[in-house]
Symmetry: D2
Subunit: 428 residues, 4 copies
Amino acid sequence: MNISAETIANFNQSSLINHQRQFEFLANQLEQKGIGVETVVERLRQFQVTVPSWALGTGGTRFGRFAIGGEPRNLSEKIEDVGLLHRFTGNNEAISLHIPWDQTNDYLAIQQLAQQRNIRFDAINSNTFQDQPRQKHSYKFGSLSHTQAEVRQQAIDHHLEVIKIGKELGSKALTLWLGDGSNFPGQVNFRKALERTEASMQEIYAQLPSDWQLLIEYKPFEPAFYSMIIPDWGTALMLCQSLGEQANVLVDLGHHLPNTNIEQIVARLLGVNRLGGFHFNDSHYADDDLTTGAIKPYRLFLIFCELVNGVTQAADLSNGQLAWMIDASHNTKDPLEDLLQATEGILIAYAQALLVDQSALEAAQENNEVTLAQEILQTAFRTDVRPLLAEARYRNGAGLYPLQLFRDLDIRQTLIQARGSASRATGL
Amino acid sequence: MNISAETIANFNQSSLINHQRQFEFLANQLEQKGIGVETVVERLRQFQVTVPSWALGTGGTRFGRFAIGGEPRNLSEKIEDVGLLHRFTGNNEAISLHIPWDQTNDYLAIQQLAQQRNIRFDAINSNTFQDQPRQKHSYKFGSLSHTQAEVRQQAIDHHLEVIKIGKELGSKALTLWLGDGSNFPGQVNFRKALERTEASMQEIYAQLPSDWQLLIEYKPFEPAFYSMIIPDWGTALMLCQSLGEQANVLVDLGHHLPNTNIEQIVARLLGVNRLGGFHFNDSHYADDDLTTGAIKPYRLFLIFCELVNGVTQAADLSNGQLAWMIDASHNTKDPLEDLLQATEGILIAYAQALLVDQSALEAAQENNEVTLAQEILQTAFRTDVRPLLAEARYRNGAGLYPLQLFRDLDIRQTLIQARGSASRATGL
Amino acid sequence: MNISAETIANFNQSSLINHQRQFEFLANQLEQKGIGVETVVERLRQFQVTVPSWALGTGGTRFGRFAIGGEPRNLSEKIEDVGLLHRFTGNNEAISLHIPWDQTNDYLAIQQLAQQRNIRFDAINSNTFQDQPRQKHSYKFGSLSHTQAEVRQQAIDHHLEVIKIGKELGSKALTLWLGDGSNFPGQVNFRKALERTEASMQEIYAQLPSDWQLLIEYKPFEPAFYSMIIPDWGTALMLCQSLGEQANVLVDLGHHLPNTNIEQIVARLLGVNRLGGFHFNDSHYADDDLTTGAIKPYRLFLIFCELVNGVTQAADLSNGQLAWMIDASHNTKDPLEDLLQATEGILIAYAQALLVDQSALEAAQENNEVTLAQEILQTAFRTDVRPLLAEARYRNGAGLYPLQLFRDLDIRQTLIQARGSASRATGL
Amino acid sequence: MNISAETIANFNQSSLINHQRQFEFLANQLEQKGIGVETVVERLRQFQVTVPSWALGTGGTRFGRFAIGGEPRNLSEKIEDVGLLHRFTGNNEAISLHIPWDQTNDYLAIQQLAQQRNIRFDAINSNTFQDQPRQKHSYKFGSLSHTQAEVRQQAIDHHLEVIKIGKELGSKALTLWLGDGSNFPGQVNFRKALERTEASMQEIYAQLPSDWQLLIEYKPFEPAFYSMIIPDWGTALMLCQSLGEQANVLVDLGHHLPNTNIEQIVARLLGVNRLGGFHFNDSHYADDDLTTGAIKPYRLFLIFCELVNGVTQAADLSNGQLAWMIDASHNTKDPLEDLLQATEGILIAYAQALLVDQSALEAAQENNEVTLAQEILQTAFRTDVRPLLAEARYRNGAGLYPLQLFRDLDIRQTLIQARGSASRATGL
């Protein structure tokens, strides 16, 4: 399915005058405060959030899954869907694959399709938390941390295969999330299990192309409910430091214990130059995998404040240093709509963070002006930045209001007609 | 599969002398402190913990499931498995069914099989958190709370069907757990959704046999990740009070927010005479569904202290007032071994609670003797009560050490040979 | 200290033109969407948030307290400070007293001063969580729940005294928060302690003037660290229902376990007509007592969405049905600045909630349009409502930008000069 | 106050026969399983738990403090109290001081008193979380992390002074816990604040005697409620690695977010050889500072399992490698009784951990025998080890049952008579 530039232009036309009025008013207000609006809009145009292949279909819980229909039936259709999202937003130019869910016979064809849709391949993901039909050894009791050398070797080989696929497609990073852990005290020797994991990772790292990153994810619980082999950023950092400079920590927003100050972790990792990227989602309780910004938008803003302040003086988050990926589970919403909302939520947080008066903030911090520091952040957060996003999209030739466009064009019905109502995307 | 009394007697014989030495020494020590050991042993003999039909096979998470083999393929085999457990422990005389997972054509045959194995049918469970193949309306957006009357009616009808099946089998309670809720702010009108739920429940309650209980379960999250329709004991109690005297609250130990004082909730519900029973499991993080007593055994003991103190002066928890059920998910252990460990964990907590010097505790409480109150509880908890459990089992004709018996007899291998290694029990 | 109308007018004058441009642009945009801006501004003008007398000075933790200077030294100066805040915001017309911290000899003089400053007396608070110098019995082991009748009687008498003072001053509510609880399992008999508490409360309730409310607060922990006598809304509701129609539940935002969905609790209490009011603050971890809206502004907005939707069709929260109070601890900020920020945060949340398209939301909920429901809420939340607040204040004769005004006038220095840098307000 | 050996012997005499019967029966049972009981008893005799000087008086919360009377009025009396505890238990031979709370004029006299009572000085603690009367700069906005160099220097100087005092007394470690942090987003630049902290610590570390350890404590919140400068073990480890080999992480059991798996952190720190020691306490909600083992005794056992397995093959935790300290707040119990219960709780956990069949556990882990691994741990935990503790104390010439001895001798009354009922120990 493809949407023409003309379709989008037509849609934009109907809202254009009002948008421009809003944008101009806001730009004027911001310029009065010394904010370079053009730079902000340019940053928003450049910023790209990767879509995970496994989030294009309906997600589920252990209790059930309620399909929506029209889900992509294969990798080609997934790329089409990401192409569609990118057409609408101008901010989703990459897809992140998951092996074996996205395994295919002809990666060349896939690459050609992607080029045609202006989609590139971001970090590629492995899977050793499930058993596959013809798999020799089971991962029931772990993969890279398993007590038996042959199971670890199988898991290492899988990762090398994933790297090989990634190379064919032009990926530049391998994301490694392990479900390894234990459900009961005593089940696992914590220290030995980590040593085995480290040794396994070293074998994978040794095969990592020199222009790749290894992104290591941490998670406190689920699927293991007593201990996870990499439960926290401290352990992930330990492993990265042991592996080498190409290994960095990936922060999944849902992978933290209750009340964790995530933005401080982001600052810590930036401080030792080991932040690798993000899996964006939101949560109220655990790894809920809800739409980013749907539950705690201020937290998302604070994370972007750390990034804008910490990544570079120029606040340009599109320089390739970090990987930006959505990782949510669309259980009750239309997955594509959910991804549009997530992209919007992320861009809003970034735009707000770009509005923070950095020099005033720095002065307030130096002088311990607590009230003022809060005021500076909230002034940025309370600003309605939606006209800035719309303008960035407009200049990118994308939709002024992507979600409305998606609905006006009745995309879901078109997809259901094309793919059927029982189509099911691979994933969880 | 059936184990003869002789097999058990032979097994017991080998450990008997040492057991008796341990039991006598302990009994003597306890009698010196004025504890009536015979009464304690008798209570342990009487206490029965129901096994859920859905926990006889391997459990899983949304990330995967790793089967063990030899799982029961139908309801008959489930009853056989519970029969086996009861043979080993003497404390598992009932099974709790789940409809439609346990739906069958011939309930009479099932009942006969159960009688033959000395198994009775405890509370029966409904399921409106999943869609079934030929179901007319989807529960994607709720069941008893759904905005559309026809979906609610379908869910009501399902519950009436479940009651009907329960009546055929001799159940005396319906357990109602709803997955209804919302994933995002705004999705659901909290008040209206509860009103609809209440109205739906009233229709079910109206059809409840007069000697039945309706057990209402609460849970703060999962499968819904923003709001659950019955998130806490307060809401569950509200509904019970609205329905009538046959409605009571069921406490699932894993269904609480972090740091909740569950034993106090138990006391609250006992205080208003609305405690209906338990789903036993243990957890470190969320609804982890681990083996009861495997993570926080002291908490389990404290819950039993409330029960022993609150249910009846005579501390007899087997009087039918409350429903005692295991509800765990056996992801990495042999399900039957796990159930044996759970039963042991529960009985240990009960035995310890029976050793609490109630009059000394009451005096310490009256006088605000904090140190002493802790000392009294911990004196009971620190006692090694395993000989009391073994004695109770011995007198019941069950195994002195059920888990060891299970392993010595190589039950799992026998089951795999009989049922195959790919057999899969219905459940999550 | 008093600020003249002229001073405020002068301050406003300098920002007026830009404010009016902002307000008109926003009003125009909102009117296009069918929102009655005048009604919204009117509601914001009417809405009054009470200032607690104990939050006018520096707060502390158990580890220390760092005073700021210029703190009010007596009740008169506290009333002056609230008068000042109200002059600045137009939204702080009431003070909430705390006995014995605000005990004085001449309540008539106090009342006259308050009238002169246009300040009224909102709910009055008792204190049985501390021992006072000449107190006969200690509250170390509880007050209304104490095992000894004479301690309970002393605590009851204290509450009757508090009511008496409140009557003299024109209060219409008694707020009851108990520190009673236990630190160790076994210390307290949960059921008996609640029964004693209920009986004590009944004696207090019997003396409550017929036009008063009794506001009952709950809290899961601190100062007791194992159990609190009223740990949750369920227990608070139980007590209210036992007492009578004048008893309602007060929700302190910081008094919840991790991850609690507070807005759902608000809806539950509204549903049974037992919501009494709020103690506003914000928290990241526990009862942190931070500035409302400083940590989780979206949550505050969601709570106001429930209120706007649930209290009345007309969304008028100033009808006296509910009590609105700040309850924060100003450890590192200037207390008065902090209260200005809190008031702003609360008004922003209310304004955003007033912008929610209620009929569109209701339709989305009825049709389970999850994406749309989120969009409707976030459209309101993302709107920059600050010009509406400024306009409401302007029309009230208050400051367009209260915090800036406070700083421009150098109020803190003036207060320090008048009261000294070592002055210390009563409170925590 | 001093208790003679004869007094203790008399007390022991009355219970001796029954104790010996219990010990012999247990020893016999354990020996049958191949456990070297004599070694276990010897380890329990050697194990020493340090008493903090600040926990000898009543503790409080920010809401209040309820004194007990008879509290030590100066450092001499604190040493007397620890001497008393050690006399009773044989397991409390050291005191941990806190400066300036324990500042005195004559450290020589103090040292002599300590020698006389067989008490040594363990790690010494600094205090930069409070302002002292004649202090030049305030720590309101931090100490070692403060933005101003002169405040940092003052805090550094304080630590050098603390080291000097510690050297005079024979301490071998400095414990560093910082209250530095922030209450609001934006208040502090996370990265710069950590850099400043690190630089300050380097100046302290440079003056650390070569046979000393620097113990760095982490804590997620309180007294700062948005961010703490060292919130987690990851940050503490970072700092230790930056400082050098004498810096190690101290684990305070109450300093973790909800649901944290502490025993895994212990294993992580052991794995990189950076575990420095413990502050023992227990908690239900936050940093509750309750008696160790009073809330989660199984967790304490699991921590000792990691220690026994990880510190040394010989499982000897008394080799000086780690620092063992109690750090609790005695708000409602007699502080001395509470310390006796804490010591008992710790020793019980250690004894249970010593009973774990390490080779069986290792085999179960290697073979992923989950059920068996749990069984092995619980077999040890369920053993009633109290006779082993009593025997160790008996052989040490201490009391068989210290708490009972304390009560029989009516120590608290004696102390109140000697020191008055209004005496107040320094501390929180």
